[in-house]
């Protein structure tokens, strides 16, 4: 087990290096750089921009160096925990990001929890009552959730949350709590606002989860050990939860690694629409203005999240399923 862990950790290093190189190249792919954005903006405000000034700025930002040098500068900084300097905000990236990472994690954790809480009971019910009215009805609801465009649902929910509960539109807290220290009132305000994005991002995820759980569980329910258990007179609930459900869970654990980036990137679009103070809108803004260090550091954050998620899910799987754990031991 320890060997396995070390090996996995070592493999992560080249993976992350490769990701960082690809990220950096992709950010640089569109024509121009941050300065062309800046120049366009200065011109739109009627400022005269001349070539000497542009050259001076380019040197000031280090954009006149070859790309590999810029990359080394950035990657070297990352290793030392320095995420670089955001051109647009004229601040170190770490200061710009600030609270956003925390709120992003809260939102995504909430969403995953929501997906599990909704899809598990429904999935189990659907599998045990296959082809019943309840099964069809709940499946229909799930599919509607999958088919409704996120942003539309977001706007509709926002409107009604405002009309019925007086929740302020958009954001993750009431405007009066922004930039204030954390208090109980602020936490409550965050919870009041959190449910809309959680439901919106969650609905599209639940349908897939319900279907998968239902299919896995149906497979298990027909196996002989289930019949034996029932024949032995095991209480029905115990006969369901103790064995078949545990077996049906494996794919979900294995899926955590995939789900993390999916939820994070899926939430970016919703966060744009709902103007949530999460990393998504900031990442999109940084990509648009080619604020390369800010964008690059964000993408690296996502990459690390994915790689770590994969590792965690593999470890959880090994811990949960003795067959994997023991099988891994006997193979060597």
């Amino acid at each position: 087990m320890f060997d396995y862990l070390v090996r996995r950790l070592l493999v992560m290093i080249p993976t992350l290096v490769a990701i960082s190189i690809i990220t950096f190249i992709i950010i640089q792919l569109p024509p121009g750089d941050y300065l062309s954005t800046l120049i366009a903006e200065m011109e739109s405000q009627g400022e005269n921009v001349d070539l000497a000034k542009i050259a001076a700025l380019r040197a000031q930002y280090g954009l006149d160096q070859p790309m590999w040098q810029q990359y080394l500068l950035w990657a070297g900084g990352l290793l030392r925990g320095d995420f670089g300097y955001s051109f647009e905000y004229q601040l170190p990236v770490a200061d710009v990001v600030g609270d956003r990472v925390l709120l992003t994690c809260v939102l995504n954790f909430g969403t995953i929890l929501f997906i599990y809480l909704v899809s598990f009971p429904i999935g189990i019910y659907s599998a045990t009552h296959q082809y019943s009215w309840g099964d069809y009805g709940l499946t229909l609801v799930g599919f509607i959730g999958l088919a409704t465009p996120n942003f539309l649902l977001a706007l509709v929910l926002l409107y009604f949350a405002n009309v019925w509960f007086g929740t302020s539109i958009g954001g993750l807290m009431d405007p009066s709590y922004i930039d204030q220290p954390w208090t109980w009132g602020k936490v409550v305000s965050v919870l009041e606002h959190l449910w809309v994005p959680v439901v919106v991002i969650g609905t599209s995820g639940t349908a897939a989860m319900i279907r998968r759980l239902r299919a896995n569980l149906l497979d298990e329910l027909q196996k002989q050990y289930v019949i034996t258990a029932r024949a032995k007179g095991l209480p029905p609930l115990r006969a369901l939860l103790k064995y078949p459900l545990r077996m049906a869970l494996n794919p979900f654990i294995a899926d955590i690694g995939n789900m993390l980036p999916q939820v994070v990137s899926g939430s970016a679009v919703v966060a744009m629409v709902l103007s949530l103070p999460t990393t998504g809108p900031m990442l999109i803004g940084a990509l648009q203005s080619q604020d390369m260090y800010l964008a690059g550091s964000f993408l690296m954050f996502l990459a690390v999240l994915t790689v770590v998620g994969m590792l965690l899910s593999d470890m959880a799987l090994a811990w949960l399923d003795p067959r994997i754990r023991l099988g891994g031991g006997t193979a060597r």
Partner: protein
Amino acid sequence: MTGASTLGIPVSRGGGWVPALRDDVAPAGMTTGEKIARPLLTSLRTAARPRGRSGTHGVTGVVTAFLAALLWFAPAAPAAATGYVEPPALAEDVAAGRLPPIAERLPREPAVVDLAAAGQEPGQYGGVLPMIMGRDKDTRQMVVYGYARLVGYRPKTFELVPDILKAVEVEDDRVFTFTLREGHRWSDGAPFTTEDFRYFWEDVANDEHLSPTGPPSELMVDGEKPKVEILSPTVVRYSWSRPNPEFLPALAGARPLYLYRPAHYLKKVHARYCEPAELEKLVKDGHQRNWAALHNKLDNMYKFDNPALPTLQPWMVVTEPPSDRFVYRRNPYYHRVDPEGRQLPYIDEVDFQIAAPGLIPAKTGAGESALQARYLSFDDYTFLRQSETRSGYETYLWRTAYGAHLALYPNLNAEDPVWRELMRDTRFRHALSLAINRHEINEVNYFGLALDGNDTVLPGSPLYRDGLRERWATYDPAKADALLDEIGLTGRDGRGVRLLPDGRPAEIVVETAGESSEQTDVLELVHDSWMAVGIKLYSRPIQRTVFRNRVFAGKTLMSISKGLENGLPTADTSPQEFAPTDQNQYMWPKWGQYYQTGGKAGAPPDLPEAQRLMELYRSWRHAGSRDERTRIWGEMLGIWSEQTYTIGLVAGVLQPVVVDLELHNVPVQGVYAWDPGAHFGIYRPDTFFFGPARPRTPESVLTAAVRSRR
């Protein structure tokens, strides 16, 4: 806008005498008022010699206006010089000794605001004004709305009057003498003197590290720097050998030309005034590459993103970016007081909440903003009206000043030689313009509430004359067909699209940086009517930066965008927008670039009419009298309409302005314009206040702007 004069200074032009330009405000006490009034009257008498064209724009009208203003002085003066009222929000700080009392904070002669003349009521203190903005960078809107300027425009007449300055003297548009208010202070309490002007001129504008390209272009007259003389701690003079009529308007702009800097604050990071070792440490702590970068980062009077930078605006920023909420507190040293001696602003705090632009109409409808126009557009009007009762606000409709709300820009500098030749053919542009059914666009997209016609001056401008908006802008497909045949585009392909001389079909890609679908919706309609005369249109939305770069490089054949910025000019407004002077004029980016770079990049205009526009613009800058300026404007507008360089579609689309029922003093009818106007700026948000809920404005008044154009 049809008032007597647009700048407060026309009387001074050409004459050898020096008129003193007084404030719209009364000095602190009666005696001072009399002292000032007397020499002023003398100079006005001198001025009243008839000169030039009389009538509405003549000298007499201006003098009458001045006398009327003088009559206002006496009753408007506060009871006593020391009778200033301490704003309650600051009382605690004053009592604790953290702030000096009000009389020591105000300039010796504060600007006393004549609320009655502006149709406003005296207000009461307190409250927080919530507004919603689209991004961090919008913190600069507070400078726009705050509108404390050296000189500022007055609403309606667009006359320039001193604001931060106590007085301005103008000689032949060449010599400008500014007098500051004695005892005026920055928001941190340090004195605001001519040293701040000197610092900017000598240590910022002429410092090769801070301004590698030299002083701002508004200060340069044909390459000549001004002579800047510091005459006393309160008097400074800028002079050129040739006239600079664009100087004062630049000071009053929405994004003003700043002639001053808080020297006491910025000297701390200026190499000339610092110990090198200390400065180096500051540079390092600020994560900057050198001291110039640090200085530039801290010194952003317009961007308004540095809470430590002292300001003269009514509200000062207290939030460090980045943030989702910006807070602005009242400036305890602000220089304006109301007639009862209460220091402005009335409202203690302004909050900008940052939200996605797409959500702003919904948030406004939910009552989250007490004053909102930015990020609202006319399509939101019905939704906003519907939510009025629920959220307790009113929706006003203000007029806008764009020459055209939307205009097509044929690129005369297009790279493709065949297309370039066509775009430069006046007949081709006429044909395209005649083939557009503007009435239909107006009815379909704007409920018939807009004005159709060319991209030129609006009927509210004194320079407007009949025919300017209609010339080559009626719907006449038959004539368009005939014109296209005459050019020789007679061949057609199977779809009925005309063929270019080299055999390609005449397909025009119109590029748009529209963040909304409004522009593409309009283009759909243009597509249909162009198709009828055999021109195929494709629309292509692209990201704004890419859009601009493509236009500049000549890769774009045609673009769609806003029309002229200022559709309500007077003879004294610069006609710069009508001549090839700017790369951002999408019909001739290279010619504009040529002018902007002094011939280093771009290409010189090579069409005789465009050259003539350029000549006229130059002669406007040197013109000695208002009559001459009017004549030049007349000729330029004539050429402009005759040549159809831009194909205007509709103009005068109204701007919804949402105002909380408890917010007072916001005019029901106004002009929503960037420059001159600064959006809310010239209506002076420092005089807005929160009071008991107002009764709702009658429907007929709310929609007066709509009916006035029918």
